[in-house]
């Protein structure tokens, strides 16, 4: 009985601490120079290996599917808690990553269940080694991903009336609609500027008080405001995950008393796979744009 309990607990403890240890070493030691890029295999291969390792400890417990899924979800949950405690990950990031972790740990557990039922040790070791080799190769490979998100709104006002609201605006009081902002992700609140000219310092202040420091690089009145982000806050939700490089507002006079306001943002993503994380990055960037641009529209149409 005691041995059964020990095996069950080891199935939680060993995979979690081993995987968190590997991610920690990879992030803070091997990839410290690149700022700790989180590669795709840390979210796919390692959780699968975690599930396989847990299944190895649980192989004699004759777990039914319900229990195996439940234990795998628990294992994923513990991994998320450990990432929060030891890797300094933010809550929103962990909410975003959780579907991947649950799906891949469960996949690994069911692969392991079948592997250890057959007991073909050479094949099992080869498969696990192959997965680990993919992880190592992925970890030492170069990773680079940049993207640009663009949004536009039509404003019933001339560019001359809109322009001052584009350069700087007072506090946004409208409640947030986007679900991530509503559960605590910081949203844009206010923008200040040191001057209406090229080289001016601009600050974008978020709801939690964090500030993005910006420098105006193109100031074409009533047409184009482009700024580089020269300092972004040390927020665990952002740090090491995304770098916002540049922002831009373009105004096009439609000739009928309306103006098309276009908001562009350029960013670098440091978490992979991008097919998953860029969906989130695009969605968040888009909602930052829209919150600011809807506010500019409301101010300009008053």
């Amino acid at each position: 009985m005691k041995a059964v309990v020990n095996r069950k607990i080891l199935g939680f403890l060993v995979p979690n601490f081993l995987i968190i240890g590997i991610i920690g070493v990879n992030r803070f030691v091997l990839q410290a120079e690149s700022g700790g890029i989180l590669v795709f295999s840390e979210f796919i291969i390692l959780p699968i290996l975690m599930g396989i390792l847990a299944a190895w400890y649980w192989r004699d417990l004759k777990l039914n599917s319900k229990k195996l899924i439940w234990y795998s979800i628990l294992n994923g949950f513990f991994a998320i808690i450990l990432s929060f405690l030891f890797l300094g990950e933010g809550t929103i990031c962990l909410i975003i990553v959780s579907p991947l972790i649950f799906a891949f740990v469960t996949t690994g557990a069911f692969i392991g269940k079948v592997m250890f039922k057959k007991n073909k040790q050479t094949l099992n070791i080869s498969f696990v080694s192959l997965l680990f080799a993919v992880f190592v190769i992925d970890s030492i490979s170069d990773h680079h991903y940049e993207n640009m998100v663009s949004d536009e709104v039509i404003i019933r006002a001339r560019p001359e009336k809109i322009w001052k609201n584009v350069v700087a605006f007072d506090r946004i009081k409208k409640p947030n609609n986007y679900w991530l902002f509503r559960i605590g992700m910081p949203s844009p609140m206010q923008t200040t500027v040191s001057g209406y000219k090229n080289g001016a310092a601009r600050k974008c202040i978020f709801s939690n008080g964090y500030t993005f420091d910006e420098k105006v690089i193109t100031y074409e009145e009533n047409k184009n405001l482009t700024f580089d982000i020269i300092n972004q806050p040390k927020d665990p939700e952002i740090m090491g995950h995304i770098d916002i490089d540049r922002g831009q507002f373009l105004l096009h006079d439609n000739g009928d008393g309306t103006t098309t306001l276009i908001g562009n943002s350029w960013y670098k993503l440091h978490v992979f796979p991008t097919w998953y994380y860029d969906l989130w990055a695009e969605s968040i960037t888009r909602n930052v744009h829209l919150r600011v641009m809807e506010h500019i529209k409301a101010l300009s149409e008053e």
């Binding site: 699968i48 599917s65 319900k66 439940w70 469960t106 996949t107 069911f110 692969i111 079948v114």
Partner: protein, 137 residues
């Protein structure tokens, strides 16, 4: 959703591990929505494993594959879709009696499909697998 993935995103089956991961998502969805059906699937697996010479493996397109030696008897996807190889003649008899449907992809083959939605389906699933097993012996 299952049919959308199978028919529209069919090319993804070539991505290593994709089918297994997709099947795990079906398992988690089943765990949340109808956990009792997972118990039925275990029941089928245990029943098949109690027959001489059988074993289970992971199906290449996701799910549990039932084998007699190295020959496949059938496989069960985690949404409850059971595909069984019965041969063309038995297939016609099963289709005529309404006990099974044509295979959800290979309509002209000797495969049939059968959805396990109720406890009664569980009994029929075991009977169909037993029939396929006996034909493979």
């Amino acid at each position: 959703m299952f049919h959308f993935i199978v028919y529209r995103l069919n090319f993804l089956k070539g991505v290593p591990l994709f089918a297994l991961i997709y099947d795990s998502c079906l398992k988690i969805a089943m765990f949340l929505a109808a956990p009792e059906r997972l118990g039925w699937f275990d029941d089928i697996e245990n029943e098949v494993l109690s027959w001489d010479g059988t074993n289970v493996s992971l199906h290449k397109f996701g799910g549990t594959q039932f084998n007699y030696g190295r020959k496949e008897i059938g496989h069960l996807h985690s949404n409850g879709l059971l595909d069984i190889l019965v041969g063309r003649q038995v297939k016609q008899e099963l289709l005529a009696s309404g006990k099974a449907e044509v295979h959800h992809i290979f309509k002209e083959s000797g495969w049939i499909s059968f959805y396990i939605l109720t406890e009664k389906d569980l009994i029929n699933a075991k009977c169909l697998l037993k029939e396929a097993y006996q034909s493979r012996m």
